[in-house]
Amino acid sequence: MATAPANVESTPLPRPGVRAIVSLIVALHVLAVFVGPWAMPQTSELGANVGRAFQPYLDVLSLGNGYRFFAPEPGPSHLVRFEVTTRDGTLEEGFFPNRAEHWPRLLYHRYFMLSEFVNTLGSAPDTKLADTYARGYAQHLAEEFDGRTVKLYLRRHYVPRTEEVRQGRRLDDKVLYEERLIYTYERD
């Protein structure tokens, strides 16, 4: 049974002037929180214009998020497979994310997002940004393995339908993977 509060102090309500200013700030902030996801592509011309008006605030507070978790739908996942030819001619291979290598799970997820991000960027009409990100990954691998040449492949892993799984298809069945070369880096 709850007892009556016996040891409580309350700060007074702010003065009307303060309340008005705080109310205005709160209203603008809440509007900005709404505009952040609303102004993300694909949006209307109105959404884009309002988004531009709020952009400094959204950028500084990192509020320009779509919150599109698993949307529009959970699709295939993407991994980056790499081949590094070292200065002595040895071929080093690997991929990320890699459960065996990237632990704890949060670190694995960071690497997972890197591969997903380069896939997302690569699906844009202009691939300059995707290429720049891929070059960053390749340069890092070249440094790590003392590599001369780095080839990056984007490996897409499709999810089988439930009927296929019921008929015995495994989630790692080879037919569910496809791969394409996305970047070749030659070290000077």
Binding site: P5, N7, V8, T11, A71, M113, G136, R166
Partner: protein
């Protein structure tokens, strides 16, 4: 006739204003905010502690995310990160990183909270603005929580600050209700509603959320899987149900989380949804962070009662302010009240 219309409009305006003031400016017990500080601070600490493992793999001139990539992405934006100034020097980078971890630890225990909450916000934003490409929902929730913990008096409950102040004056401090505690909690609540609204609306574009197969596409994704849920392929109707409930829940959250009747159901559903993501899809941190955000809807009296119960289990009884509730058990208020002035001592 015209007079009665204008009276009705004026009355309506007064009610709206009173409702606005009650919603944002009613004095509130900071217990909920204090609990969010502990859990959110711990999540930020863990998130950044994990960055320690791969810090120089991600940032710096030889990192996976060099300046060339990120600055191209962020051109014409106002993104800011202090990491740009120091990442050229591993010594400076590691010094700042360790200092950041100390700040998060201090925020979690509520030490110098006014300062550490603001520093935690700057640090969280700096890592997020420096590492686009390696981010996901967890970082968005961390940023949101850091922002509102810095806005409100998050150290006014369950904190070392309170405990030390109580020791200095030689008595248990009274529970300090304030409109700022209410404001910060309200902002988290409203922000959570917007997050779920857009999360739900974005799913309406995807056919898999309509044909009921979306959750299978998540559970059957080997790269996400942390618990083998392949057996669910044998229960397509269950997958359909879970998919539709997920969308319905996200779309209706903003409306159903406010009424007292539906709030417990909405919050109860958040637990299996986010714990499912946490356990089955390997995103423990994200699932927990979303649940921490949902805590904003748990009333302070319930938080104090729960903390008291937990402390009793651990044999601490109802200790001082640090322990939990400042020695006072607050009754469930019938309705929040706005007072024009003075205290309610």
């Amino acid at each position: 006739m015209a007079g009665s219309v204008s009276t009705a409009v004026r009355d309506w305006g007064r009610e709206v204003l009173a409702g606005w003031n009650r919603f944002w400016f009613a004095a509130a017990d900071p217990a909920t905010l204090g609990l969010i500080r502990i859990l959110g601070g711990a999540m930020m600490l863990y998130t950044h502690a994990v960055w320690s493992i791969g810090l120089t793999d991600f940032v710096g001139s030889h990192g996976l995310l060099p300046a060339e990539s990120v600055k191209l992405l962020q051109q014409d934006t106002w993104a800011f990160s202090y990491l740009w100034w120091i990442e050229g020097s591993p010594v400076l980078l590691w010094t700042a990183h360790i200092a950041a971890l100390i700040v998060f630890a201090m925020l979690t225990v509520g030490l110098f909270t006014r300062v550490t909450s603001i520093l935690a916000l700057i640090i969280t934003l700096s890592y997020v603005q420096r590492l686009p490409g390696a981010l996901f929902g967890l970082d968005q929730v961390n940023t949101m929580l850091a922002l509102y913990l810095a806005v409100g008096p998050s150290g006014d409950a369950f904190s070392l600050d309170r405990w030390l102040r109580g020791r200095r004056v030689g008595q248990t401090l009274p529970v300090r209700q304030s409109w700022m505690a209410n404001l910060a909690t309200r902002l988290i609540q409203v922000h959570m509603c917007i997050v779920y609204l857009f999360a739900g609306m974005a799913k309406l574009v995807g056919m898999a959320w309509w044909d009921g197969t979306a959750l299978w596409m998540a559970f059957g994704n080997l790269e996400y899987q942390s618990l083998d849920m392949t057996w669910m392929a044998g229960f397509p109707l269950l997958i359909n149900l879970m998919t539709h409930v997920t969308v319905a829940w996200e779309l209706s959250y903003w409306a159903l989380v406010w009424p007292r009747l539906s709030r417990p159901i909405v919050l109860a559903l958040a637990v299996p949804l986010h714990m499912g993501i946490a356990i089955c899809l390997g995103m423990i941190t994200f699932g927990l962070a979303m649940l921490i955000g949902n805590l904003a809807f748990v009333p302070p009296w319930l938080v104090r009662a729960a903390v008291d119960r937990i402390l009793a289990i651990f044999g601490r009884g109802r200790g001082g302010e640090l322990a939990a509730s400042g020695g006072e058990k607050l009754k469930k208020p019938s309705r929040p009240q706005v007072r024009s002035s003075g205290s309610t001592r």
